[in-house]
């Protein structure tokens, strides 16, 4: 402890999640997870799907003082069901004590959440499973070298969309798909907005039922920005309106930290400019048409919110 105080000018805030994981420098998902874990505490079992975070626990190390189960890409929510049912059986039969219970948290990337994990996720919500689901959305298959996923934004260059127009598809609206299931709670979050994130996690910590979170996860290696700028990228995504922070519960949709009105908020291109995956929109010449399309989609989203 003394050592720590001596080195205080350089010491980092203490997080429950251990350091030295194999995650990339500047990983936005790790920022989200650190804050969430600090609030949920170590009596948490993470049920993980194949994705970047699979490599957090590599034998014989783990950064988690609590528990961890790696399942497969498609079935982490089903793994959570088995844990919840198993713990409930043990509790009901008094084979473990009430204090032995665990918060069950699914951790998947967008590849699993937007794609092959949808069936298992839909099933978990339909059964009103008592769990938290964190989708760290880095908008592509990050762990395999950043190919496009159903979460990739229009125009982004990925390892499988290398043309001058980038990814031709549009980011799937997972929020609305999940919302249609009427879970107990549903929100988007960002590690770059820790106060909003902390408020939401604190609110749902002791809430029952499915609590669904889609976390903005800036990815230095996939999005091509310097790892020191993760928070800046995250903040700009919210400020320009590209990553709306919102929550849905009991039939009510609320936006949190709304960006300034159109014209007064930063244009989306300020957010895009920071990322190499959008370089082709600016060089060798500006792709005015595509930039206008991207800005137009963001503006229309917020216009609809205002109405």
């Amino acid at each position: 402890m003394k050592r720590e105080s001596e080195e205080k000018p350089f010491s980092l805030p203490h997080h429950l999640l251990g350091s030295g994981t194999p995650a990339c420098a500047g990983c936005g998902a790790l920022v989200d997870i650190k804050i969430i874990y600090d609030i949920l505490g170590e009596n948490t079992v993470f049920v993980n799907a194949a994705g970047c975070m699979t490599l957090l626990s590599v034998y014989p190390y783990t950064p988690f003082p609590g528990s961890w189960i790696y399942t497969a890409m498609a079935s982490a929510p089903a793994g959570a069901q088995g844990v919840r049912d198993g713990l409930d059986i043990l509790l009901a039969q008094q084979r473990i004590k009430g204090g032995d219970d665990l918060q069950v948290v699914v951790l998947t990337g967008d590849g699993a959440a937007y794609g092959m994990g949808l069936s298992a996720t839909s099933g978990a919500m339909e059964r009103d499973l008592d769990f938290i689901y964190i989708c760290y959305d880095n908008e592509g298959y990050g762990n395999t070298g950043y190919q496009f996923s159903a979460a990739t934004p229009h125009g982004a260059r990925t390892a499988t969309s290398t043309g001058t127009r980038g990814y031709g598809g549009y980011k799937k609206d997972l929020f609305r798909i999940w919302q249609a299931h009427e879970p107990s709670y549903l929100a988007t979050i960002s590690g770059a907005e820790p106060a909003d994130l902390a408020r939401k996690i604190t609110k749902i910590k002791d809430m029952g039922g499915p609590r669904m979170l889609i976390a903005h996860a800036p990815c230095p290696t996939g999005w091509h920005f310097d790892p020191s700028r993760t928070v800046e990228v995250g903040r700009l995504a919210v400020a320009c309106g590209a990553w709306p922070l919102k929550e849905y519960e009991q039939g009510l949709l609320r936006h949190n930290k709304r960006p300034a009105p159109a014209g007064k908020r930063p244009p989306v291109e300020e957010y895009l400019r920071l990322q190499g995956r959008f370089n082709h929109l600016f060089t060798p010449r500006r792709n005015e048409e595509l930039l206008a399309e991207i800005q137009g989609r963001v503006d229309r989203y917020w216009q609809a919110v205002e109405e």
């Binding site: 590599v58 399942t71 088995g82 844990v83 059986i89």
Partner: protein
């Protein structure tokens, strides 16, 4: 010990196995011909006759995942599947076996698509052959019930700690009613204690546990795979021990390999599952005709009971393996495995012939068995092993040609012949 005799289907017997085993948890998903198992258990839970939690998942992939994570928590888990469902969840079959969690999966065998069909063969369960799951194959409804009980104890044995598949044939066993003795609960509890009051390695607060973690490098990976292999090999002796223990308590003992009139047999048929009962009936007829034919039925396929099979087949003139599966491009899977088990035996049988039959529920008739025995007699006399045979009759072929004519609207009339 009170005994209650019931007329049960194979599926009903599997359900009774779960009930008597005091299974805590069943993640399920319906598939023909397994559904009667989960319907029966569901009804018992509804009516308060069975205290278990049953959760219907969105798929078999999810179902096997939930089974594995619940077993990680330390509850007693059973689930059931068939065919396409088993293969849909195959990724998790390998995964949960690697987790070394005890659970029982009842598979009601059904042939695989394409073409899609409902009746049985063993390619579904054999697709799980290399996963780490143990495999126990049943021939009668009584054996299904008893094997579910044995399987739970085998899976939970600390020398094993591997999940177990209990296999029964769809339709031929799943929907066939046979008289089954229901063991009384008190004796069952002597054989298989209630689920542990305090699980050995529970997933709970204050007891952090990491399951299914990644390894980097072949050395660590090999270590864990070898460990599973050695545990599976060890399960053979454990099974034999449990089979004897079961016999002591219930009067029905089980061995890894069932022998029927083998001691003096010159020709031995090797089969698994319910179709082996057809072979048994054929053996009775051959014996009446003075032919020295016997039957060997491995109950275990994983671990493969190589030593007991080699012992019983030592010195036999001819062994005919009737595989109810086909490894396309190779042939019969059990034939190949048995050949590997016998090759280095000094007294290995002179002739080890392969016959494939019963695919997609095709009957293996007395005529088929007679043909096999005649073939074996010729082989023994000539010393030349026949090429692998695909059982099919002239009549079936003619019928098939008729269907092809229909399917082609007559356009191909005669071409297939």
């Amino acid at each position: 010990m009170t005994r209650q005799r019931e007329l049960l289907t194979g599926n009903g017997a599997a359900a009774w196995g779960a009930r008597l085993a005091a299974v805590d948890y069943l993640p399920v998903f319906p598939i023909t011909p397994q559904t009667e198992i989960i319907e029966t258990i569901g009804r018992w839970i509804e009516q308060g006759e069975m205290a278990a939690t049953m959760t219907t998942m969105d798929s078999e992939h999810s179902m096997f995942t939930a089974a594995g994570t619940a077993a990680t928590c330390g509850v007693r888990v059973m689930t059931a599947s068939s065919s396409q469902g088993l293969l849909y969840g195959l990724e998790m079959i390998y995964a949960v076996a690697g987790w070394r969690v005890p659970l029982v999966l009842v598979n009601v065998s059904r042939a695989l698509s394409a073409p899609v069909t409902l009746e049985p063969d063993h390619n579904d369960v054999l697709a799980c052959r290399d996963s780490g799951f143990l495999q126990l194959h049943c021939a009668t409804c009584q054996e299904v019930l008893d094997t579910v009980l044995i399987a739970h104890r085998l899976a939970e044995d600390e020398r094993v700690r591997l999940p177990v598949i209990v296999n029964l044939d769809g339709y031929y066993l799943s929907f066939t009613r046979e008289p089954v003795l229901l063991p009384d609960l008190a004796t069952v509890r002597q054989f298989l204690p209630a689920p542990a009051a305090s699980p050995a390695m529970p997933l709970k607060a204050g007891n952090p546990l990491s399951q299914g973690v990644a390894v980097l490098g072949g050395s660590q990976y090999s270590y864990f795979r070898y460990e599973s292999h050695l545990a599976s090999c060890q399960a053979l002796a454990v099974y034999e021990e449990l089979g004897r223990d079961f016999g002591r308590l219930f009067g029905r003992s089980y061995q890894a390999v069932e022998e029927y009139l083998c001691a003096d047999a010159e020709i031995v048929l090797v089969m698994i599952g319910s179709f082996a009962t057809k072979a048994k009936a054929a053996v009775d007829l051959f014996r009446r005709a003075g032919l020295a034919v016997g039957l060997v039925r491995p109950r275990l396929l994983r671990p493969f009971p190589a030593a007991p099979l080699a012992a019983v087949l030592a010195g036999k003139k001819g062994v005919a393996v009737v595989d109810q599966n086909i490894s396309v491009g190779q042939g019969g899977i059990i034939w190949a495995e048995l050949a590997a088990a016998l090759y280095n035996q000094p007294q290995r049988p002179a002739i080890l012939a392969s016959f494939i039959g019963g695919l997609g529920g095709r009957d293996i008739s007395l005529a088929d068995f007679t043909g096999i025995v005649r073939e074996m007699e010729r082989a023994i006399e000539s010393g030349v092993c026949p090429a692998p045979r695909l059982l099919y009759s002239e009549r079936e072929l003619a019928q098939m040609h008729g269907l092809q004519d229909l399917a082609s609207g007559g356009a191909l009339k005669g071409e297939g012949k």
